[in-house]
Symmetry: C2
Subunit: 252 residues, 2 copies
Amino acid sequence: MTYCVAIKLNAGLVFLSDSRTNAGVDQISTYSKMHTFGLDGARQFCLLTSGNLATAQGIVAQIRHDIDHGMPLSLMTLSSMDEAADYIGQLSVMQQKKAGGGIDFEASVLFGGQILGSAPDVFLIYPQGNHIATSRTTPFLQIGESKYGKPILDRILKPDTALHTAVLCGLVSMDSTMRSNVTVGPPIEVLAYKTDSLEMHNRLILEEDSDYLRELKRNWDERLKDAFRSLPPPAWATMWDQADGEAAAQQR
Amino acid sequence: MTYCVAIKLNAGLVFLSDSRTNAGVDQISTYSKMHTFGLDGARQFCLLTSGNLATAQGIVAQIRHDIDHGMPLSLMTLSSMDEAADYIGQLSVMQQKKAGGGIDFEASVLFGGQILGSAPDVFLIYPQGNHIATSRTTPFLQIGESKYGKPILDRILKPDTALHTAVLCGLVSMDSTMRSNVTVGPPIEVLAYKTDSLEMHNRLILEEDSDYLRELKRNWDERLKDAFRSLPPPAWATMWDQADGEAAAQQR
């Protein structure tokens, strides 16, 4: 499985991805799902992939091929983020057709970035090739095993959230997902793109043995348990326990 | 959709269920998914259902019919929790066959309780009629929209957790699920069964306008955000923001 998140803030874009790939549970490998393309000062793109690995690698290879061979249609020539998303959707459909089509060969893609002169944007590109954007009320998009980690994103992320807060929130979301689903795992890749910077240098790979990941996991677990313990206990249910104590006492 | 949890603790059993039923998004109704059967001092059972509503209601109707007509095989005659779970599995398969079979008519059931002389138990009964139990490392079972609310259960629940703590944890899990998925909704039903009590009087229905539910929602949201805010910010990502501030300053 996979878990990837892309977040669109006023301050910029944040991308997070896990790196676990599996075909069944007895064939687990590590592949980066984060791919970047760009020309400093002109345009920057980041791609996160889930689904069939061959389809995903095929999309990335074709993007690179089109750039390297100076094709008329490539991420270096398209004039808007929306057109670029359409282009990637077409590559995805093409790759799936090459393999015979069908649900087994599907891939979903998170695609974001900025082209000089336009605002940054983020899209979720479906296996069918069409795409959706974020909105002010839903400033993030997810692919893969998205449910475990969604509640914390729902609660924290707003368009005016700071980049580092969104990174932290994404990592907490990733931690919850890894705790509940073994098919999502490190290394975790993080990329933060600052609006109008037109460069993608804020990138980090947190390996399996990362001190930071381990500390975050411990810290969040502790704080979440503290938060839970600090909730006022339901008076009615506490009474159920007391009655229980009495019954137990009588039985002794 | 549906979200139901059954928890097995040393102190007893806890059952929670939502009450939203939908066929598409334009046909939403409220149905209790919690059904209890028993004879005080002798045996007590609780059933939570998800999936096809006709199948679920058919199972419950047949259980009642078998009890009311003093059939040789009923929840009042079976001698173990395991046999009782098999019996309900058979009723479920029967109901699905009556409707022609297929995935549309499937139902999953959480079934728990206690028979005098044996320990309490909880099972998840699959649409195919077979079942699984909890374990010391996994003291809870879920049916329906289970992923959003699983992380908090994973973190908090242990076999020695108190009944009222498990109730609170189940309600927090339910709150996270309702926040992220509109097809899960109140009234929320709660039942706590105390080991060896052989009575099921600790039951509560929290309606949509419940002050307690509203307070819990507000409290948990606040505490979760506090917990998140108290996390040490990732030093590397904070630097990304600072650089951002400088870049923005230069541009002005």
